[in-house]
Assembly symmetry: C3
Homo-oligomer: 158 residues x 3
């Protein structure tokens, strides 16, 4: 379910792209505990003249290997998000040679009713899938069930 | 107002793209009851090596005609969203020959203050347009007015 | 932090693109009071056959200089958003010759936990940066702190 869109400068090889996507998916699996095939990734390659990637004054130097990952996902606890940022940088450095200074992430959240994976069905509502916050085996303090969940998925297995 | 972004593999003809956009807009009009010219559609065409579209373990087979539709829109009741998923699949199969196994949708919601259609104005706040949840002639149980609406559109006709 | 994605028709020169990005960033700085280098901009150029940009029945005539700006940002007061729409149109007309009828904006909001600018850190949570709503020197009536903020940034300077 998470939909990941990668923004990179043009010029990477097919192998580099594949390694980036595989490495990121490993971290998604590890941190968000989604099914193995819960993988939706899109790479947008841009000419340098068509982007501006600065650093909000944080003193972070960018290179031409900069990656901006936009994630659309159901709600996740803050602890999972911060773990994702941390582990993504470690894994991209380890397996792709991308520096932690070149990894930026922006997340936008939606709800269980906002996804259809095919067949015209909202699989989180039909009970074919269950939502991210339910899946958290160690839900942190303050985590909340998505507001729509209670009344919306009567067929969800308990 | 809904902004629709289509992600497809490259290789479709202009006619196929036009049919996809027209068919989808018919379903938007039918389900979300927006004005006829409330149409904002963008097609992103991708090389196979630049995307990964799997199935979350649902056993849904994808083909090279796969379409991921990202929608940015004001809030809609769950019933409208599920009707949209269902009718979109039916319409794309009927008029474009796209299989229901190849149709995925992801929705992100915003509010009446988050749109300007031109002229520097927020037309849902000025009263030139009215919001989606207001427009629902058969608002379902549990539907809520956007939180910002009450105080924000004094000029809205009643 | 705001991430801006521009959708335009192909055919603009490098100079036109640079002017569009610079002008828009001036308005972001002016209205949202972000750091000078809080600049993340991506231009997507589209073939005419791959987009549909209409007018929601508002009678707004579009030209081939149409620009749709998608913004992902932390929460901002309504007054800032409406000021942004207004000033963006004025600035794009003044410095780029883009008509106010050709400027559309769509905003999606997220929270302080949803951004990592590099180094695997969520800089709004670590205290390296502070959130948009906190920064508003003239917070309007009804502005709220992001719900997650209170408990999430113990190291934030006061």
């Amino acid at each position: 379910m998470p939909l990941l869109q990668f923004h990179v400068l043009e010029g990477r090889s097919d192998q580099e792209i594949a390694a980036l996507l595989d490495a990121t998916h490993r971290v998604v699996l590890d941190v968000f505990h989604v099914p193995l095939r819960d993988r939706y990734q899109i790479v947008h390659e841009h000419k340098p003249s068509r982007v501006r990637f600065e650093d909000t004054g944080l003193g972070i130097k960018r290179s031409d290997k900069f990656v901006l990952v936009q994630i659309t996902t159901q709600r996740h606890p803050i602890e999972q998000k911060t773990a994702f940022y941390d582990k993504l940088c470690a894994e991209l450095e380890r397996s792709c040679g991308i520096k932690p200074t070149d990894v930026m992430v922006s997340i936008v959240e939606n709800t269980v009713a906002d996804w259809s994976f095919g067949l015209g069905r909202a699989q989180f509502l039909t009970g074919e899938l269950h939502g991210a916050m339910e899946d958290a085996t160690s839900a942190p303090r303050g985590s909340k069930q998505p507001a729509e969940l209670a009344g919306a998925s009567p067929g969800r297995p308990t």
